[in-house]
Symmetry: C2
Subunit: 108 residues, 2 copies
């Protein structure tokens, strides 16, 4: 298996905020629109829009326009991929990065 570490930095950044972790948690139940999500927090509408952009650009969340509303869902394929990556790097394996070329930097 061959993963690009750089590719997952963006996902980890998307997970690096309490509000965004809670949004992901909320979406695990199913689809929600922006206004429903907003109701659950004490943040401005523009801040929520910013967070939703971070989440959708990371690939963790799908955004679908439905008339005036945006409908958000979790991207389960991406989520499984991300969980597999974290599990992979954190567990011992045959083809460990530490056995690769001297400068790990070269294998990004």
């Amino acid at each position: 298996m061959e993963y690009s570490h750089k590719k997952y930095v963006q996902v980890a950044k998307a997970l690096s905020d309490e509000t965004r972790l809670k949004i992901i948690d909320m979406l695990s139940c199913g689809e929600m629109c922006a206004c429903d999500i907003l109701e659950n927090f004490s943040i401005s509408q523009s801040t929520l829009s910013y967070h939703m952009k971070i989440l959708t650009e990371s690939g963790l969340v799908n955004a679908l326009r439905d008339g005036a509303w945006m409908r958000y869902t979790l991207n389960n394929e991406k989520i499984n991929d991300v969980l597999a990556f974290f599990t992979y790097i954190m567990n011992e394996k045959e083809d460990c990065i530490c056995k690769k070329c001297g400068k790990i930097d070269c294998s990004s």
Copy 2:
């Protein structure tokens, strides 16, 4: 099950850097000292020390002084906990956060 989302923000931040993801990957094989890790990157010694501090403060990595050397290992207990948390929030469950009090903010 009851998780504090805030508690995992620090972990996600620790994972939000390509160098740190690679360090975790390297440590999955087993213990390494700082100088061995440093050999694999093109960064300064002080920058590595900074990254190791972020990783140990997140709880993902254990640091053990051995004479002049620091010996680093993955903290498998923490890692399992973190993976369980991410898996939990990303999957549907009975006691979903979206069914809690109106302002999610209150339940951090």
